[in-house]
């Protein structure tokens, strides 16, 4: 695999090159953007590692220029700029991945491996060709049960042939992929490496023509049953380190399963990301109808279903933030709820964030962690004791609201305390210790924002969930609420069911974070 590093910081460049050499990659370096362009447009690379800030031509412009000229190689951007804007600019310019300096070296290497695998015809870390197996994460190679000790170049040669086992590799192609342009290798170099690799293979019992020569064309891997050139299911993965205890082995199986699951999630995500975006568009057109006062029940039901499906799908891919945004929409668009045109704007802000999250997720980096509730057999839930009531303190100056809502909320397991004079807020708070606060914004004497700000600066109340409930649906008001420390913002009118769901979600989230 051949990588071009475009980086102007000499110390960093040297360190990176040395590290990548250890990983058996052939490295070319360019010291500025213009040189980067010259190299990238002249030679074939499997990956480009690009600094953002470069003399002559910056990383973003170089990235755009390459993409514009039709180069599709994976690009990994490295930079010390940690702002989300910088990341978005980099990714939008055509980068495939983005890492902020200083970074964790093993993570960088793992990301490089992942990007390189994507370009190969077999995008999985473990490659198996008949009796040969190679693990690119550990660089271990086995022929049957026998381990092979290979040099960096021998390993790279074998990996290249194993990843594309139907292909005949010419000397030129091998030289271009595995040797950097400064090494000036010749055909004889390839021949001598091939010879040594063959010797090592025959020494562990492989047939002498496992690496076969097609005269005038090049080298290829001669495996009788090429259909086995695939990843091995966990159960059949060869025991990588001989003498493993059963526990270690089951751990390593678990690890292999997780790695392969992550790979599958990534593959599936690549295929289905666009479907998720289509669902976002469907919801968007529903919000347009809502805004124009033309929302009908079937349209609302369809948008609800789209949001609901997104919750399940995004969650299964481990995209928790996106899932929560979808869940908000799912709750707000429930077919039983009556929606007002003015709410469209508020929902759009969720939807835009959701769309952004989906668009920016190019790779699934981590396996989903399950913090939601566990599965349950129906029989169990029947005998479960009722949960203790959740104590809610509602501060609002609308007497009608304060009179009706506590009754509505009671069946959902809430005990609601009400307060219409915010001046008594602190004493009521101290004597009642509620689990959740629901604040109105516009109140005489003290407004909700001031109360929230006060809470966030006093120790025992810093973490209490605060939800604003207001008829004001303006984006700036909501923004202000979150900036003073709100956990959620809800618009009146709201149904008790919807409010109950939001409170439960909020508490569930806090509970899961604390555990």
């Amino acid at each position: 695999m051949r990588i071009l590093v475009v980086e102007d910081d000499e110390i960093f460049r040297t360190l990176l090159t040395q590290r990548l050499n250890v990983e058996c990659y052939a490295i070319d370096v360019a010291k500025d953007g213009v040189q980067g362009w010259e190299y990238a447009s002249t030679y074939e690379y499997d990956l480009l590692i690009l600094d953002l800030v470069l003399p002559k031509l910056d990383g973003i412009s170089l990235c755009q220029k390459l993409r514009h000229a039709g180069y599709t190689l994976p690009i990994l951007m490295l930079t010390s700029q940690d702002t989300s804007t910088a990341k978005i600019m980099g990714l939008d310019a055509g980068a495939d991945d983005y890492m902020v300096k200083p970074f964790d070296e093993p993570e960088l290497i793992a990301r490089i491996r992942a990007l390189l695998r994507r370009g190969s015809s077999n995008p999985l870390p473990t490659v198996i060709c008949g009796p040969l197996s190679l693990n690119s994460s550990t660089h271990e190679v086995f022929y049957g049960e026998m381990a092979l000790t290979l040099t960096a170049k021998e390993y790279a040669l074998l990996e290249m042939m194993m990843r594309d086992s139907h292909h005949v590799f010419g000397s030129d192609e091998i030289l271009e992929s595995l040797w950097s342009s400064e090494e000036f290798p010749v055909d004889a170099t390839v021949r001598s490496h091939m010879r040594r690799l063959r010797n090592k293979l025959t020494a562990v019992g492989a047939p002498p023509d496992l690496i076969a020569t097609s005269h005038g064309r090049g080298y290829y891997l001669k495996i009788l049953d090429l259909s086995t050139s695939t990843i091995a299911p966990a159960r059949e993965t060869p025991n990588l380190v001989t003498g493993n205890s059963p526990i270690e082995q089951s751990k390593s199986n678990e690890l292999t399963q997780q790695t392969q699951y992550l790979e599958l999630l990534n593959d599936t995500w690549q295929k289905h990301r666009s479907t998720c975006l289509e669902r976002v568009e469907l919801i968007r057109s529903t919000l347009d109808s809502l805004h124009l006062g033309q929302l009908t029940s079937p349209i609302q039901a369809e948008a609800y279903r789209a949001a609901h499906t997104l919750v399940g799908t995004l969650g299964t891919f481990g995209l928790d933030h996106a899932m929560r945004l979808a869940r908000n929409l799912d709750q707000e668009l429930h077919p039983d709820l009556y929606l007002e045109p003015y709410q469209a704007e508020f929902f759009r802000s969720f939807l835009n964030q959701l769309q952004q999250q989906i668009e920016q997720t190019l790779y699934i980096e981590n396996l989903p962690t399950m913090v939601e509730d566990r599965p349950q057999a129906i029989e169990d839930s029947k005998s479960k004791p009722l949960q203790p009531e959740i104590r809610v303190l509602m501060v609002d100056n609308d007497p009608f609201f304060l009179e009706t809502f506590p009754q509505y909320l009671k069946p959902y397991g809430f005990q609601v305390l009400t307060l219409n004079d915010p001046r008594q807020f602190w004493s009521v708070l101290e004597s009642n210790h509620p689990d959740v606060l629901i604040l109105d914004i516009q109140m005489p004497q003290i407004n909700g924002f001031e109360l929230c700000q006060g809470l966030r600066s006093v120790d025992p109340w810093q973490k209490i969930p605060v939800m604003f409930l207001s008829a004001d649906s303006k984006a700036e008001t909501q923004h202000k609420a979150f900036s003073v420390g709100a956990d959620d913002y809800l618009c009146k009118p709201i149904t008790a069911e919807s409010l109950s769901d939001r409170i439960h979600n909020r508490l569930q989230r806090i509970h899961s974070i604390m555990n």
């Binding site: 299911p233 966990a234 159960r235 399963q257 997780q258 392969q260 699951y261 599958l264 999630l265 599936t268 995500w269 295929k271 289905h272 479907t275 279903r305 609901h308 499906t309 919750v311 399940g312 799908t313 995004l314 969650g315 299964t316 891919f317 481990g318 899932m323 869940r327 799912d330 396996l367 989903p368 399950m370 939601e372 509730d373 566990r374 599965p375 349950q376 057999a377 129906i378 839930s381 029947k382 959902y412 397991g413 069911e497 769901d501 439960h504 569930q508």
Partner: protein
């Protein structure tokens, strides 16, 4: 554990893929998929799976309707069914409870733990 055959009925293709992968890899079970309630009912009649994972929210015929249809059919009545749902609210759970379904698994789920969850809900012993 003996090899099981699971039918997943979900209109989301990505969920089908993930479920199939998880159950095959961790438990070695056979997985068949259907993308709609109607398709699911005919697969259940034809293939007699050991259990059915049924998505609640599907267009046209939803999970509840599909479940009722499965219950009314002599060939499929005895097949255990677990609902797959992104709903976690108590009110919804009560509603599902009344249908007589065997259990609920909430989305999102980790496909690597799914086989274990199914065994637990259905009391399948290893």
């Amino acid at each position: 554990m003996s090899e099981k055959c699971i039918l997943i009925i979900d209109d989301e293709e990505s969920i089908q893929t993930v479920v199939e992968f998880g159950l095959k890899m961790t438990a070695g079970w056979e997985v068949i998929s259907a993308s709609s309630g109607n398709e699911g009912i005919s697969r259940a009649q034809a293939d007699h799976p050991d259990m059915i994972l049924l998505d609640v929210m599907m267009p046209e015929m939803d999970g509840l309707a599909t479940f009722r249809a499965l219950q009314l059919n002599d060939q499929t009545r005895s097949i255990p069914v677990i609902f797959l749902t992104a709903k976690a609210q108590a009110s919804e759970k009560r509603l599902f409870n009344e249908t007589g379904v065997n259990g609920i698994i909430t989305k999102p789920f980790n496909a690597l733990e799914l086989a274990q969850q199914i065994c637990k809900v259905l009391n399948w012993t290893e």
